[in-house]
């Protein structure tokens, strides 16, 4: 065996790639191809599905769910921006000012993961209830109109998604900020940069790989999320994930559901591509 390997030394990298490659084929390529095939089929559960290469399904699916597609991308953008605004100062504080509490603070960031995603979202229903802890108190003081509500509004859904994906933003930002050599910032201030200038011209650019990873890790799942819209929203917050779920599980319309899933994937890829172009020229990998 070792003799064979010695003679075919060039094959070794491919052998190392084999497990990962197989994984991708079985769990990524096959499902994608299957989904593409289902999207191009026509029929119903009762009569069976036949592959008819019905490419018309794509414009049809977009036309019937354009509102939800645009809404999902928009919610994803808002969530990513909010999560960065909230997450960056958090990660910065932990990385530069955490001191010996660093690991405890990081544990606190991860702590919500010890509880199910669904239970955490349901607890928001309690917190935001029309006459619950928060709004009930404010209404009691007469600071809010009796009919004011947060549940079943875009605010509740966007807040819910932001809350749920915040740890995914904080952790990569922390890793990027933690790696920055403090002496560089000292050098900048030695060269008469103000603290703000040092941040803008040294710290921020050096943390951009973290910002990039953090945006992808929040934007992609946020666009596809349907739990928050289902539990905290109403019909006016229906996202593309809810539409796809309904098509698969309630309407049994597998072709349109598959087509929409593919469209969503392409939509996300295009958004990410634009994002990379905007950040072009920066070192994006840590």
């Amino acid at each position: 065996m070792s003799g064979w390997l010695r003679r075919h030394r060039g094959l070794i990298p491919y052998l190392f790639l084999l497990p990962g490659g197989l994984w991708l084929i079985v769990f990524f390529l096959v499902p994608i191809v299957t989904m593409a095939s289902v999207a191009l089929q026509e029929g119903s559960l009762g009569t069976g599905y036949r592959l008819t290469f019905n490419f018309g399904i794509f414009p049809e699916a977009i036309a019937r769910s354009d509102t939800q597609l645009i809404r999902s991308l928009l919610f994803g953008l808002i969530v990513t921006a909010l999560a960065l605004l909230i997450g960056y100062p958090m990660a910065y504080t932990i990385a530069f000012r955490g001191g010996r509490y660093k690991s405890i603070l990081l544990l606190l960031v991860i702590l919500p993961f010890f509880t199910s995603f669904i239970i955490r979202t349901i607890s928001w229903q309690f917190i935001l209830a029309d006459n619950g802890f928060l709004l009930g108190t404010l209404k009691g003081f007469g600071w809010l109109d009796e009919r004011f509500r947060l549940l079943a509004t875009p605010i509740a859904v966007i807040s819910g998604i932001t809350y749920n994906f915040l740890p995914f933003v904080v952790l990569p930002l922390y890793v990027a900020l933690e790696k920055i050599d403090h002496r560089l910032i000292e050098a900048a201030t030695d060269l008469y940069a103000s603290r703000l200038q040092a941040f803008l011209r040294v710290t921020l650019p050096l943390s951009l790989p973290g910002v990039f990873a953090a945006s992808l890790l929040s934007f992609i799942p946020a666009v596809g999320d349907y739990i928050n819209a289902e539990l905290l929203g109403s019909r006016n917050e229906t996202m593309i994930g809810n539409v796809i779920q309904g098509l698969y599980l309630v309407n049994n319309d597998y072709p349109r559901a598959s087509a929409l899933s593919l469209i969503l994937m392409v939509g996300i890829l295009i958004s990410v591509f634009i994002y990379i172009r905007v950040l072009r020229g920066q070192e994006l990998t840590v």
């Binding site: 191809v33 069976g48 509500r149 109403s234 019909r235 229906t238 599980l249």
Partner: protein, 437 residues
């Protein structure tokens, strides 16, 4: 009886866990659905070329399909084997110690008397997703692992059409059903002559409202669709996400019997619902009880048994069978094709139609009992109750119109339309326009 009066938080947590199970189920289900074509999927050319999903219930699809056309002989007629696997919805049987349905007194008595050991699971969360989990097995002609499952009337109709249910001879094997069930439950339109199913429990989809938040007395659907009313209660109105419930609601309002509705009627129903939609807070499933008890909703569509239970927390809550009528839905026991213990399943069906057994279960479940004779037995239990609290509770059950509806109420009740596959797709798409803004 404090079992019934679960606290709000406990119920919310139960629901939360159930939602978790739904999402896991959805995941598994998609994996299972994938299995239908994954056989070909492992070789890429096969996918691209041949891949199609075989029709359900066609002769080519397997033994189950072939039997759908021929008249099969009924199962049963033999001795129980001693084992029964029962899949039901949650909170749908009197539980034993620790709220454990597996320790149900009814199941224990069934074992003592008939000698059948029941494995009871609460695996059914809704008709569609449960059907999806057993459909691949039924299609392949394999046993599903269940001997009795409980499905709502329209799904029974679907499963009969697909040839997925065993035929039964109720006269021979379930005599208590014929002797004790109310006439309303015999020979239903979704399963003529009860050849495949007998009811477990049933309920009414009506309107519930909270008088603390609503000035008017609510008596009709028209009030939930009236422009001035919906403007006044904008954002405090709940409707159901279940297509059949909300569409039937609008159909009844438009003066159409849902059982006979045409596509044009369904389109008109969609328009009725669309006019109301901007003022609807949301379209809810089972979880509507949370926003309703938390006073986020003032008026909502509701299921009768839930309201009966919510009244223990807040006696002011009202349930109304609207003037225009309402839908009486029936959840039925049936035997999936290829079940391994059909004689035990039939023994169970017969057993729960004994009035004293039906009474025992109804005292806990609080939905509409299909056995009218149970009412007197519950009255008797109330008279014999040891504590005043128990007596009060049992009297409330026995005298409730939500458990034993009056003739006047029953006369206003309809069924869902039995939709064929094409109609179901059309109706779903019409309702999607309402539900997804």
């Amino acid at each position: 009886m404090s079992d019934v009066q679960r606290t709000r938080l406990e119920r919310a947590i139960a629901r939360a866990l159930r939602d978790e199970r739904i999402s896991r189920r959805r995941f598994l289900r998609q994996a299972g659905r994938g299995g239908l074509y994954a056989g070909g999927a492992l070789s890429l050319p096969a996918i691209l070329a041949a891949c199609g999903i075989g029709p359900s219930g066609s002769p080519a699809a397997g033994a189950s399909g072939a039997q759908a056309t021929a008249t099969p002989s009924p199962v049963g007629g033999g001795e129980p084997s001693g084992t029964l696997i029962f899949a039901n919805w949650e909170l749908y049987i009197d539980p034993g110690a620790g709220d454990d349905p597996q320790k149900s007194p009814t199941l224990a008595a069934f074992k003592d008397e008939i000698g059948v050991d029941t494995t009871y699971t609460e695996n059914i969360l809704d008709n569609q997703s449960f059907f999806a989990t057993i459909q691949p097995d039924l299609e392949a002609g394999n046993p599903t692992g269940y001997d009795i499952i409980v499905m709502t009337d329209w799904m029974i109709g679907n499963m009969i059409r697909l040839g997925y249910l065993e035929r039964m001879d109720v006269a021979r094997d379930v005599p208590n059903f014929l002797a004790n069930a109310a006439d309303k439950y015999k020979d239903p339109s979704y399963d003529p002559s009860n050849l495949h199913s007998v009811p477990w429990q049933s309920g009414i989809t009506g309107i519930a409202y909270n008088p603390a938040l609503v000035d008017e007395e609510i008596t009709s659907m028209a009030q939930l669709l009236d422009p001035a009313m919906i403007e006044k209660y904008s954002g405090q109105i709940g409707m159901f996400t279940e297509m059949r419930d909300s569409m039937s609601f609008a159909l009844l309002h438009n003066g159409v019997n849902p059982e006979e509705a045409t596509l044009a009627d369904a389109e008109a129903a969609r328009d009725t619902l669309l006019a109301q939609a901007p003022h609807v807070r949301d379209y809810y499933g089972n979880e509507y009880t949370d926003p309703f008890t938390r006073e986020n909703l003032a008026i909502t569509m509701a299921w009768s048994g839930d309201v009966f239970q919510m009244k223990f927390d807040n006696p002011d809550l009202q349930f109304v069978v609207p003037e225009e009528g309402a839908v009486l839905w029936v959840d039925n026991m049936c035997i999936p094709k290829g079940a391994e213990h059909p004689n035990d399943a039939l023994a169970m069906m017969d057993y729960v139609y004994r009035p004293e057994v039906a009474a025992q279960m109804t005292e806990w479940i609080n939905y509409i009992c299909p056995v009218p004779a149970a009412q007197d037995i519950i009255r008797q239990h109330a008279a014999e109750a040891e504590s005043a609290e128990d007596r009060e509770y049992l009297e409330a059950v026995a005298e409730s119109e939500l458990v034993f509806p009056t003739e006047d109420m029953l006369s206003r009740l309809h069924s869902y339309k039995v939709l064929d596959e094409e109609e179901e797709r059309q109706w779903n798409e019409l309702f999607d326009e309402v539900r997804q803004g």
